[in-house]
């Protein structure tokens, strides 16, 4: 039944990609796992900056392969390792589907910004809203916050 669902998903693929040309349609395809913990190994994420690596379509969605954290669970502001287009890239989590503390925003998709090893963002603009909580660590994320347009 999983195979049939996947085939159904691929049959729908061209229609879905034509009508809503947003790359993250990959994520809610044949089956979705509900939000368990925020971002851990093998979660499919959505890259929200305007870098070429994050926005060129590929037949596999970008997946997290490591979380730089004592626990393996990444929340907003944690760095993770992504596998995109066959290469490894570090990224910063800017929003997840799991509800956090009250008064903080909960996003409808797991958002991530591609980053170099020294913390410089690869893209030049972030259109999606970023939570204000990230401003707390202004020292580490100053360059990412500088390219962000909207805050929530």
């Amino acid at each position: 039944s999983v195979m049939t669902r996947f085939c159904a998903g691929f049959a729908l693929a061209p229609r879905v990609l034509l009508s809503r040309s947003v790359f993250h349609s990959f994520l809610s395809f044949a089956s979705i796992t509900g939000a368990c913990r925020a971002i851990q190994k093998l979660t499919r994420v959505r890259v929200v900056d305007n870098s070429t690596l994050g926005n060129t379509p590929y037949h596999r969605p970008p997946k997290c392969i490591h979380v730089y954290n004592k626990t393996g669970v990444g929340k907003v502001g944690d760095k993770i390792l992504l596998a995109i287009k066959g290469e490894k890239k570090k990224a910063l989590i800017v929003g997840h589907k799991m509800p956090g503390p009250t008064m903080t925003p909960r996003f409808d998709s797991n958002n991530v910004v591609l980053i170099e090893d020294n913390g410089n963002p690869i893209g030049t603009r972030i259109k999606t809203p970023i939570p204000y909580i990230l401003r707390q660590r202004e020292g580490e994320f100053s360059k990412v916050l500088a390219i962000a347009r909207n805050f929530v």
Partner: protein
């Protein structure tokens, strides 16, 4: 004036005008916020009494307007990490939960193709203003299905002007039937346990019939689940209105 007899008619004073004071009618219609009603349980009512005192104290200082699920609200909070230390969020209220001082409401909006939900605490001192931009009840108490609906139903302009609403009128009910994204959804909204009336189900008849397999028609007749709050509400309403007048 001369009547048909030819003699002058008796003076008939004009009929007294009947004044319907709609403001007074409105005061008789009372609204008690759902977080005042204590949940059913074996907790000491003293705890709820003390909580209500604190809630009334906060309401005296800060005005929490009457709102239901489905209203479009704008909330300004104090945020140490925001630009002007103040952050404003506009969204539709999809859920009101919690009782007492921990009462919360969730606002949802779609900004730049990204759906965002924020759960605010009603009595949190960080909240500086709650404005009701649009008064509109929906067919359901819980609009969580908006997460699986098309994004157009959750988008609200951040700079929208408050829609004027007269005090004495009833809150209008919007009988909108929302169209959903293709399945899979986060919850199986077609099942009778959610009892949703605000979705236009475009599922085949077979699926709708299959969903009815999970219906529990005996639940509404279960006497142990009954919780009649009318008397409790009357008592608490009197307590709250007296507390607010002082």
């Amino acid at each position: 004036r001369i009547s048909s007899d030819g003699n002058p008619a008796k003076f008939q004073p004009p009929p007294k005008p009947v004044i319907i004071d709609k403001q007074k009618q409105r005061e008789e219609k009372r609204f008690l916020s759902p977080e005042f009603i204590p949940p059913r349980g074996r907790t000491d009512p003293l705890k709820f009494f003390i909580e209500r005192k604190d809630m009334i104290q906060r309401r005296k200082v800060f005005n929490i307007p009457e709102f239901y699920v489905g209203h479009v609200l704008a909330v300004t909070t104090a945020d140490p990490y925001a630009n002007e230390k103040v952050s404003r969020f506009v969204g539709i209220c999809i859920q009101r939960g919690g009782k007492g001082l921990g009462a919360t409401f969730v606002l949802r909006n779609v900004i730049e193709d990204q759906g965002i939900e924020i759960c605010y605490e009603l009595y949190n001192p960080r909240i500086q203003a709650i404005e009701v931009l649009k008064l509109e009840k929906r067919l359901d108490d819980n609009l969580m299905y908006l997460r699986d609906a098309l994004p157009e139903y959750s988008t609200f302009d951040v700079n929208m002007k408050p829609v004027s609403h007269l005090d004495h009128e009833e809150v209008p009910v919007n009988k909108l039937q929302v169209r959903m994204k293709p399945k899979p959804w986060s919850k199986r909204w077609e099942r009778p346990k959610y009892n949703i009336k605000g979705i236009k189900f475009e599922l085949p008849e077979k699926k709708m019939k299959e969903a009815q397999k999970w219906s529990q028609p005996w639940l509404e007749f279960d006497m142990l689940r009954e919780y009649d709050t009318s008397k409790i509400e009357d008592k608490i309403w009197k307590e709250v209105s007296e507390g607010l007048k002082k």
